[in-house]
């Protein structure tokens, strides 16, 4: 079984400041890793994903994440946030297994960008 821990439930940050949203996972098999974002009254939208290869993954809206296998982490970063980045961010994993595409999510981190 897999599990995902998002260490911060809420992160306030000033506009144009950098931000890091933390995600750790636990799995006995290899995984694929995702970050989704949910804006108010909208569905979850994929920000980026790690499947294999380079451990630094770039996504939409200037976000990036780094896969660290030894620390089982996949932290999300942005060097300079905007008001429009205010949203809830979810880390998720998809485990290997024949025909299994289910995602296991963390509890989410609410990012509040302060003007």
């Amino acid at each position: 079984a897999q599990s995902v821990t998002q260490l911060d439930s809420q992160v306030p940050v000033f506009e144009e400041a950098p931000v890091e949203l933390r995600c750790n996972y636990s799995s006995s098999v290899s995984v694929y890793l995702f970050w989704y974002v949910q804006y108010p009254n909208q569905g979850l939208q994929l920000l980026l994903k790690y499947l294999s290869g380079s451990t630094l993954v770039k996504g939409i809206n200037g976000f990036e994440a780094e896969f660290n296998k030894s620390q089982t982490s996949f932290h999300l970063r942005k060097p300079s946030v905007h008001i429009s980045d205010t949203a809830e961010y979810f880390c998720a994993v998809e485990a290997s297994g024949a025909g299994s595409y289910q995602l296991t999510f963390g509890k989410g981190t609410k990012l509040s960008v302060i003007p």
Partner: protein, 115 residues
């Protein structure tokens, strides 16, 4: 851009009543999913559906739940006799099975309130 839609956005029902939550996946997608998020908790996988049958389900998805694709466009989740603990946001998702690490496209959710 194609998107997953869900109706209704908010459903209020009395305990013991049957509810049907509706979803229209993206038209060329072949895998369909239901997830739920109880307030303050993680997004949890319920069920996946492919080729007109359930491909995977979680332990949450007991006999009170069923899914159906009644026509070529809709995908429904039925709860036969709702309980207070079924109150949650229910998300529908769809994906194209192109291998591992498929992006799942999520709808905006239906908030179910059981009184």
């Amino acid at each position: 851009e194609p998107e997953v839609t869900q109706t209704p956005s908010h459903q209020v029902t009395q305990m013991g009543q049957e509810v049907i939550l509706r979803c229209v996946p993206i038209s060329n997608h072949l895998y369909f999913y239901w997830y739920r998020q109880i307030l303050g908790q993680k997004v949890e996988f319920l069920v996946s559906f492919y080729n007109n049958e359930i491909s995977e389900k979680s332990e949450i998805f007991d006999d009170q739940f069923s899914v159906e694709r009644p026509d070529g466009s809709n995908f429904t989740l039925k709860i036969r006799s709702t309980k207070l603990e079924d109150s949650a946001m229910y998300f529908c998702a769809s994906s194209v099975p192109s291998g591992r690490g498929n992006e799942q496209y999520f709808g905006p959710g239906t908030r179910l309130t059981v009184t």
